[in-house]
């Protein structure tokens, strides 16, 4: 469960208001909340690395003492999978705008079928021009094949072949006249990241030259370039990445007795995405910013001390 933004704000105000001269506007709070969340979020990756080192020194346990597992769970909650959009008609694909760290790239080589959804029904894909079949062994397409809606980039799986024109699918992703492509779920290969300074040597060596079995990519700007350059499918490349957390936004509708009243029903409301266990850390971080804003050294010191203690306990 994520940290509760209203509880964090109330606690921060309670700490800052000890002499009734510390008031933080919602706008300022939201700015500090974003900074605090980002700071703690990045710290997860450093902690993860640190705890792996400790694990290798055998100073980390298993079960409830498995700190690495807990850190992985938090980081994995920001994991996203999506197909990359091809830039032009080249072997270049645009990375998602919200990525923090590209973990994996996958190449889907085996397109089984393409077409257009001609009828909308729940959990169905219908293509009047298709030639699906239940008579082959396995079915065509096989159950488990990946369906990508190339119009919306959404994806799901084939759960059954109903007849020659209709498939049962695992999610409602097909709208009328949406285009689709079906990939086999076998033969999917990982595309390996290669640094720019190794690329020339890699492509020049007969033993390591990228191939459809062992493709590679280099990062440039916000795009990736895939090798071999014959990989050109519009939705052939899928990524699994860790995204940035969404910007927290404490929202209110009206002001009662001089105080804005919390309203999570606003369209732009956004809670913290870090888990509840990070609530004390968020409060301590925000208190440091608030302490500086209201020039209250005690508030700053409280935040800094809390954070320091927390760091000692968790490292």
């Amino acid at each position: 469960m994520p940290a509760n933004i209203n509880e964090v704000r109330t606690t921060v105000l309670a700490i800052a208001n000890k002499n009734n001269y510390g008031y933080i506007t919602p706008q300022d709070f939201n700015l500090y909340a974003e900074q605090a969340q980002m700071d703690i979020y990045e710290d997860y990756f450093y902690q993860y690395n640190s705890w792996i080192s400790k694990q290798n020194q055998r100073v980390s346990g298993t079960g409830y003492a498995d700190i690495v597992k807990g850190l992985e769970e938090v980081i994995d909650s920001f994991s996203v999978e999506s197909f990359l959009t091809q830039v032009g008609a080249d072997n270049t694909y645009a990375l998602p705008a919200d990525y923090y760290l590209i973990n994996k790239l996958f190449y889907y080589p085996g397109a089984i079928a393409t077409g257009t959804n001609t009828f909308v029904a729940a959990f169905k894909l219908t293509d009047s021009a298709a030639t699906f079949s239940v008579l082959t062994n396995p079915t065509t397409p096989p159950v488990g094949s990946i369906i990508v809606n190339t119009t919306t980039q959404a994806q799901c799986y084939v759960t059954a072949v109903d007849n020659a024109t209709t498939l049962s699918i695992s999610a409602n992703i097909m709208n009328l006249n949406d285009n689709y492509i079906i990939y086999t779920n076998t033969n999917v290969v990982e595309v390996e990241r290669v640094s720019q300074n190794k690329l020339f040597y890699l492509t020049s060596s007969p033993l390591t030259a990228p191939s459809n079995s062992f493709p590679a990519y280099v990062l440039g700007g916000n795009n990736v370039t895939i090798y071999p350059s014959t990989i050109l499918g519009a939705t052939s490349i899928k990524t699994q990445y860790v995204r940035y957390p969404l910007t927290p936004n404490w929202t209110f509708t009206n002001i009662t007795a001089g105080e804005p009243v919390f309203n999570p029903g606003q369209a732009d409301y956004q809670n913290f995405e870090l888990p509840s266990s990070d609530q004390p850390g968020l409060i301590a971080k925000i208190c440091q910013y608030v302490g500086i804003e209201i020039r209250e050294a005690d508030v700053y010191k409280f935040g800094a001390t809390e954070q320091s203690v927390d760091t000692q306990q968790t490292n």
């Binding site: 290798n56 062994n137 990982e190 290669v194 033993l207 390591t208 030259a209 459809n212 079995s213 590679a216």
Partner: protein
Amino acid sequence: MAYITDYQYYENGGANPENENWGSYQYVTLQEIVNNFMLIYQGNNELLNNISRYQVLFYAKRGIQELNYDAMKEIKILELEVGEDLRFILPQDYVNWVRISMYQGGVLYPLVENIQTNWSGAYLQDNNAKILFDQDGNVLKPEFSSLDFDRIKGVKRSLYLNVNSPYHNSLGYFLDGGWYFDYSVGSRFGLNTETANANPTFSINKKGGVINFDSTMSGQTAVLEYVSDGMENGDNANISVNKLFEDYLYSFIRYSLLNGRLGIQEYIINRARKDKSSLLRNAKIRLSNIHPGRLLQNLRGQDKWIK
């Protein structure tokens, strides 16, 4: 190879070619080896971490190449007819030869390598034996050297019959209207077994990529048994290795990576090296198929009298 149904195995699921999957269970593919290695042998809690897949791929291929050279016994065989130029162009994936035979009348005659070379390069020279060059400073070369010319044009020895000549009944060369004979130096004590052979001989021009036969091989069918490096003409999807060598390959990759990394203790490298060596030995023994039934069959002849 992935697990497949019986229908897929025997009839390739109704697709062509039908024999696509026959015997495939003996082999593990390059993709599987690299994938398994990345999964099992590298990671945050393993001896190896932060390695790139291309490094694993490189060493996996190097390991397969080494196995193909001397351990796997995956012999390839190619039959070609030798033309008038007496050349057999080496196959694209040739690395080394095992045996070269002449196929004649349904029988394979193994040929021996001519240890005295029968081919060479040559430069054009003037009357004073000075080498000739073109305007760019490159040396001029004839199409054939004297050795090649004689071999291809077939100046063969034949029997000289002239009762009045001391060379009567000797083998000699008839060239440009005159007879030429080998020098008779010293005495001859039996055969020189090193070169004694009734069949055609050959020598291999490795750099030139051809096998050169002597002139008696013209128009004959040559069968080349050779080893390749298992790289399947660069098609990674087709590279595979016998399962008996799977564990060896992992240990080879692990040793190669550990050996090249900074800060790995020597005892770890040594352990990996010993693993690699013993696994190769084990795999060779397994592949040699020594088992009681086969030994028994061989030993049945132990009491046979050799006359």
